[in-house]
C-alpha cells in the first residue's frame, strides 16, 4: 500500500471499486464532446458554467462515476476550472467519485422512512451482497460487492415519505420495501 494521500491529492486519488468492470472506462470521444456541447447550448451565451451539472450527470450515466481524469475535461467543456468542478463533485452526494455496482441501492434513512424501518434495510442489504456496514466512510458512504454487481448507499429523503421505507434501485423507486422485496430484487437481477 502506498502512503495515504494528503488532503489535496485525495481529491483526485483513485478509489478502486469492483463496480468499474461493469462500466466503460472514461475516454473522451467525439460523441462525448458533441453531447457535452449540446448540453452547454441549452444555456444562454456566456453561461457555459451552468452546464457543469448536466455534463457531470451525463458522464456519470455513461461511466458510472466521475473519475479523476474526467474533472479537467468537464472543466474544459464548461469553461470552468478543475478545482471548481472538484468543488461541485465533492459537494453533491448524488455525484459519485467511486464507481458503484451495476445495480445500485439507495436506501432512504430520513425520518419518515426510518420510522417505518428503512434504516434496518441497510445492514440487511449489506449482508445480502456480502459487505460490512462498518466499512462505510463518511466521505464516500457507499459499499460495493466484490463482484461489482451490487452496491448500497444510504441517502436522505427520497420524497415519498408516506409510503416508506423507500429505496431506489438504479433509477427505479420501490416503496413499502421489506426484506422480501430486497430478496426478490437481488434474485431478479442476479440472473
Amino acid at each position: 500500500m502506498s502512503e495515504t494521500p494528503n488532503a489535496i491529492d485525495a481529491i483526485t486519488a483513485a478509489k478502486p471499486s469492483p463496480g468499474e468492470q461493469h462500466f466503460p472506462k472514461f475516454a473522451v470521444t467525439d460523441n462525448l464532446v458533441e453531447a457535452a456541447q449540446k448540453l452547454v447550448a441549452r444555456y444562454p451565451e456566456g453561461k457555459e458554467q451552468s452546464a457543469v451539472l448536466p455534463i457531470i450527470h451525463m458522464v456519470q450515466e455513461k461511466f458510472g462515476y466521475i473519475c479523476p481524469e474526467a474533472m479537467p475535461w468537464i472543466a474544459e467543456m464548461c469553461k470552468s476550472t478543475p478545482i471548481h468542478v472538484a468543488g461541485i463533485v465533492t459537494f453533491y452526494p448524488g455525484i459519485h467519485t467511486m464507481c458503484p455496482g451495476k445495480y445500485h441501492f439507495r436506501v432512504c434513512r430520513t425520518i419518515a422512512c426510518s420510522l417505518s424501518g428503512g434504516e434496518e434495510l441497510i445492514p440487511y442489504i449489506c449482508q445480502k451482497i456480502g459487505v460490512n456496514p462498518a466499512d462505510m466512510s463518511d466521505e464516500e458512504p457507499m459499499l460495493v460487492s466484490a463482484d461489482g454487481l451490487w452496491s448500497v448507499e444510504p441517502v436522505e429523503c427520497l420524497a415519498n415519505c408516506g409510503f416508506g421505507p423507500n429505496i431506489m434501485l438504479n433509477e427505479t423507486l420501490y416503496s413499502q420495501v421489506t426484506t422480501k422485496t430486497i430478496d426478490e430484487l437481488i434474485a431478479k437481477y442476479s440472473k
Binding site: 458554467q49 419518515a112 441517502v155 420524497a159
Partner: protein, 469 residues
C-alpha cells in the same frame, strides 16, 4: 367530460377535493400531451394569453394564492417585486427540488401530470414576461426527468413552447436542470447558484433578492411546483372563485402528505382550513396504529417544530374568549398552526405514536441536517455536527443532564444567525424536542457522564484515570 375514476386502492377520500391531484392515480390517464389536451389542458393558457400580462398578475394577486414551498409568501406579490423599469431579461425557475423530509407532493405532479406544471409555468412566464425558464428537478427523480423532458418536447411540438406561442408573439424556452442530491438547493438562492454551476451556497439577502438580482444577475422568480399548478387553477377558475374557497388568508386547496405512525399514510388534497389535524389524522388517515396512541406531530416538514399531542393550546373563540384546545383542533391552513409556535410549511405531516423514542427521532433529524448543511456559514457548518454528536451521545446513554441544556443552547446559537433559513430549519427541531420532551432526554442521561471524556484524544489521554462502569 366523463366522470373521473381512479385506480383501485388509490381512490381519493370523500373529504378530499382533488384539483392539483385531479389526475393522480386516475384510471386511464397518462402523462402524454394528448391525454392532457383531451382533459381540457392548455385551454387555461389560451385564456390567460388573451389577457394583458399585468392583468394575469393582478388576477393571481386578487386570488390571494400563497406559495406552497413552505414560506407561504403571496405568489402574485412576489411577481411584482421585479424592479420597475427593468431592462434585463427576466427568468422563471420552478423549484422541483422537493427535499423537505415529510413532503411528497411535487413528485406525483411531475411523474403523472407534467403538462399541468408546464401550463402553469407558461402562464407565470407570460405574466412576468420571462422568455427563459428552468425546471430545477432533484436528482432523485430520474424517471420524472425523462417524463418531464418528453413533455417539454411535446409541448414545443404543439406550439405551446418555443417561438410565438399561440400566435401571440410570446417566446419561451424551458430547460430542465437536474440537481444532485442537496437539500440546500431547495433554498431559492442556493438553487440559483446550482443552476449557475457554482457551489449551491445560498446568497445573502440583501442584496441578492432573486426578484432583483437572481439567476445570472437578472430578476428571477422562483416558484414551487404546486404554486405554479395553483396559478393555473387561479386562471382556470377565476380569482374570485379561487379566493372564496378555503381559509380566508390562505385560499385554495392544499396537498397534505401524511407519514409515520398512522393507519393510512399518504397524500390528501383538501380545501385549505376545511379540516383540523384531528380530522385529518383520525377520519382520513384512520387514527393511530392498533393499540397505540398519538404522541407527537411534526406539522409541516422535518424542520417544523414538533407538537405534543397532549399539549394544551390556547385557541380563540369567535367572540374573542380563550378556550383550551389541542393540536387536533387546529385547522389545516397556512397560519393557524403558526400561532401555536410551529408552522404548516410545505404540508408534510409526520406523526409519531407512543412507541417512539423522541431523542432517537431528533437524532435522525440532526443527522439529516448535519449531512445537508452546505457549510458556507459558520454557525450552521459547525453547529449541526455538534448537535448531532450531542444527540447521538445522549441516545447512546453517554450523555449527562447538562448535555441536554447544551444541545438546546447550541440550537439557540444557530437560530437567526445564518445566511439562509436552514439555520432556523435545523435548530427548530432541537429546540422543540429538547423543550417539549425534556424528560425523555434526561431519562437517557447519567450525571457521571459529565466527568467522562468523549473525544478519542481525551479518552486516550485519560485512559488510566477514567472509571469503567
Amino acid at each position: 367530460m366523463s366522470a373521473i375514476t381512479y385506480k383501485p386502492g388509490c381512490e381519493p377520500h370523500p373529504r378530499e377535493t382533488r384539483r392539483i391531484f385531479r389526475n393522480i392515480d386516475r384510471k386511464g390517464y397518462n402523462p402524454s400531451i394528448a391525454c392532457f389536451i383531451k382533459d381540457g389542458g392548455y385551454e387555461t393558457l389560451k385564456k390567460a394569453m388573451e389577457m394583458e400580462p399585468s392583468a394575469v398578475i393582478d388576477e393571481v394577486k386578487k386570488s390571494g394564492l400563497r406559495g406552497r414551498g413552505g414560506a407561504g409568501f403571496p405568489t402574485g406579490v412576489k411577481w411584482t417585486f421585479i424592479p420597475k423599469g427593468n431592462t434585463k431579461p427576466v427568468y422563471l425557475v420552478c423549484n422541483c427540488d422537493e427535499s423537505e423530509p415529510g413532503t411528497f407532493k411535487d413528485r406525483f405532479v411531475v411523474h403523472q401530470d407534467p403538462h399541468q406544471l408546464i401550463e402553469g409555468m407558461i402562464i407565470a412566464c407570460y405574466a412576468v414576461q420571462a422568455h427563459y425558464a428552468v425546471i430545477y428537478m432533484r436528482e432523485e427523480f430520474p424517471e420524472a426527468a425523462k417524463i418531464m423532458q418528453k413533455a417539454l418536447d411535446e409541448a414545443e411540438e404543439k406550439g405551446f413552447l418555443g417561438k410565438d406561442i399561440l400566435g401571440k408573439g410570446f417566446d419561451l424556452k424551458i430547460v430542465l436542470h437536474r440537481g444532485a442530491g442537496a437539500y440546500i438547493c431547495g433554498e431559492e438562492t442556493g438553487l440559483i447558484n446550482s443552476i449557475e454551476g457554482v457551489r449551491p451556497y445560498p446568497r445573502i439577502k440583501p442584496p441578492y433578492f432573486p426578484a432583483a438580482i437572481g439567476l445570472w444577475g437578472c430578476p428571477t422568480i422562483v416558484n414551487n411546483v404546486e404554486s405554479l399548478c395553483q396559478v393555473r387553477q387561479v386562471l382556470m377558475r377565476g380569482a374570485e372563485a379561487f379566493a372564496a374557497e378555503g381559509a380566508q388568508r390562505s385560499p385554495g386547496t392544499r396537498i397534505i402528505g401524511v407519514s409515520g405512525d398512522v393507519k393510512r399514510p399518504g397524500y390528501y388534497e383538501i380545501i385549505s382550513g376545511s379540516l383540523t389535524y384531528g380530522e385529518l389524522l383520525y377520519d382520513i388517515c384512520g387514527g393511530p396504529k392498533r393499540g397505540r396512541k398519538f404522541k407527537a406531530i411534526i406539522p409541516g416538514g422535518a424542520s417544523a417544530k414538533v407538537m405534543r399531542c397532549d399539549e394544551v393550546l390556547k385557541g380563540r373563540n369567535p367572540d374573542g374568549s380563550v378556550r383550551e384546545m389541542s393540536i387536533f383542533d387546529v385547522p389545516l391552513d397556512l397560519d393557524s398552526i403558526a400561532q401555536h409556535g410551529s408552522m404548516s410549511g410545505s404540508g408534510g405531516v409526520i406523526v409519531m405514536d407512543d412507541s417512539r423514542s423522541m431523542p432517537k427521532v431528533l437524532n435522525n433529524l440532526n443527522r439529516f441536517f448535519a449531512w445537508e448543511s452546505c457549510g458556507q456559514c459558520s454557525p450552521c457548518r459547525e453547529g449541526n455536527p455538534w448537535m448531532l454528536k450531542l444527540s447521538t451521545r445522549i441516545c447512546e446513554g453517554k450523555g449527562s443532564p447538562e448535555d441536554v441544556d447544551l444541545l438546546k443552547s447550541v440550537a439557540d446559537n444557530i437560530c437567526g444567525r445564518t445566511v439562509c433559513a436552514f439555520g432556523e430549519a435545523c435548530s427548530w427541531p432541537t429546540q422543540a424536542f429538547t423543550t417539549k420532551f425534556r424528560d425523555e432526554f434526561l431519562a437517557l442521561t447519567k450525571p457521571i457522564n459529565a466527568l467522562k471524556p468523549h473525544s478519542d484524544e481525551t479518552k486516550e489521554a485519560r485512559k488510566f484515570l477514567t472509571r469503567e462502569d
